[in-house]
Amino acid sequence: MKTLNDLRCGVTAKVLDIKGEGALKRHILDMGVTRGTPVTVKKIAPLGDPIQISVRGYDLSLRRADAGLIAVQ
């Protein structure tokens, strides 16, 4: 299954599902990363982690491990 972590820079994909639970999952949802939302990977930090994505018209940074919880299409 493909996750947000597998996307290359500049690629846009739709969110399928969010794994995990509790605070982490809720925070991802609250920030607007919900099922069906298009997200674009914009940049990778100079040290290789975290990544910067664009969602709902703004920019969000999240770690690769957390990006791996977000299944995309």
């Binding site: 969010i18 509790g22 605070a23 982490l24 999952k25 809720r26 925070h27 991802i28 949802l29 609250d30 920030m31 607007g32 919900t34 099922r35 069906g36 939302t37 940049k43 990778i44 930090a45 100079p46 040290l47 290789g48 982690d49 975290p50 910067q52 709902r56 018209g57 703004y58 920019d59 969000l60 940074s61 999240l62 770690r63 957390d66």
Partner: protein
Amino acid sequence: MKKINIALAGNPNSGKTTVFNALTGGNQYVGNWAGVTVEKKSGKLRSDKNVTVTDLPGIYALSPYSPEEVVAGSFLLGEMADEKPDVIINVIDSSNIERNLYLTTQLADTGIPVIALLNMIDISQKRGDKIDPKILSAELGLPVFEASALRGKGLTDAVNAAKNAAAAKASPGISGHRIVNFSPEIEDAITRISKIIKNHVTSDKPVRFYALSLFEKDSLTADKLGLNETERAKIESIVKETEILLNDDSESIISSQRYDRVSAILTSCYEKGGKKSATDVIDNVVTNRFLALPIFAVIMFLVYYISVTTIGTIATNWVNDTLFTEIIPPAVTNGLESAGASAWLVSLIVDGIIGGVGAILGFLPQMAVLFLLLSLLEDCGYMSRIAFILDRLFRKFGLSGKSFIPFLVSTGCGVPGIMASKPIEDEKQRRITIMTTTFIPCSAKLPIIALIAGAVFGNSAWIAFSAYLAGILSIIVSGLILKSTKALKTKDMPFIMELPAYHVPRAANILNHVWIQLRAFIIKAGTIIFLASAAVWFLSSFGVENGRFGMVDADFSFLADFGKIFAPIFIPLGFGQWQFAVSSLTGLVAKENVVSTLAVLFGTSESGLGTHVNVLFSAAHVYAPAAAYSFLLFNLLCAPCFAAIAAVNREMGSAKWTMITLLYQTGFAYIVSLAVFQIWSAAAAIF
């Protein structure tokens, strides 16, 4: 006139602070929300003193997870001792409207009237965005006002609407207005949950809000309402049933449907402009793969150069060395002596109080410069980029990328260094930063390094280098230790951070921020340092000599007695002579005192002290450098000076955590010095 409470709620970076400053002017009260280190700001409305405005912390949602969200939620639901707000002004960043309106949908569910303020409308218009406020207002069912708090536009109408809404509100009842109607399956579940909890909720509280929280598996709400086991089980089965029906988990369903509703509303009244934002252009350079680190290094060099090397230190040195050494003490001494004050009174006022209080005031210029620079970095949006660039490196040690600044500043002085930890959002990372930042040798510790380097190491420059290295290693080791403790475990801490749009910093906000920080430090630190300095002064000036109590030389003071009791503790570390114990104690007032106290106690000048210490250690130990280095390490790593302790206390927001910090630092210093001395002398004996 009826008193009205307005709550300001909104996302971080929505310009809420600017709105708050514009509404309240200088009439602000800043404190903490009960029980947490989240800042609470309130003030009286400039144009009407009957109106109190409370600035809630910036939040993305009313979820039950971050302390900011919990505090904001409890306040809006009237669960705190504070008066419940009559009306909410929801500050919305117009240039990031979709995510901002998500919170609006939750605010409406609290049952408090909401006024929507489309802030930063000028920025959004410049980008070419088109918003129709009339349609938006009709769709939300809320009054909507366009505003630019920065330019002072549009606030008056919103405040008047808020006052009207507060006045019109039918006594204690709550408004049943809602923005989101969920799908029938969910509305059915909410109705069923509402029936179960009805008897636990008073009429002035929003049943729907609590029912929704319970549907989203918020156990905090179940505890708050005092639900029994049967009720909890019933709710759980309703949630499970609905989840199976909709084939998704309850939190995802609710968030998705809220966002879907927001998107639907925006389709009817909003058009995004096509212009490429300046933020993307800046980020292409500033967080570029190759340029990010060099640019970061240059910016940090400037921060260090301005606040530590030049302006900050020049001003601080003038206050310390001229104002509180050459000008005020002689003047006060002369004044007191000519008024016929007794010697002990002169000593208390000049050495104890002016000396101690002067030590805090000396930090103020440096702190002011530093806070100014930090506010600039934060207000313009660069601070988040620092966390983005450095996260990978620092998170291994339980720290944030933003911890770099406290460590850097602490090479100059630990007090502003500790306070520079404020921008770190995560409480655990902030605590670990505060607990470790004073391991970096500050400028006041340099005389100790110079003394030991000169006494036993032939002034080798490697000693100073090794002191900084020891500081960095101590931070790394402590980070690893602390983050594995139960209270500071950061393993599961998500790092999901908005990278806000860059904007030009606002002078009024920055100056206000700097002033609030300084004032808080003067008040809080002033009391601790004042008392602590007076106590140390008393202990070092008074004692029993020849069976009589009175003012005595340092050798006979209570502090010396104290030192003699404590000295044996340091025998395993290689410096069991009582003079060393006493000097470490006076180092708590200011680390410069370590060297000057030793000089006094050994009855020698500071320049002759090195030889004295060398002779002393050589007589006591076969291998003197091990003992000397152990003494150096202990004083570098143990509890910092009172001013820094006061800063720790302020930033930790809890006496318990301050104690834990001091015990950890001193314990860590003891173990490190013990290990170094024992291993070094054992190795020296063998080779």
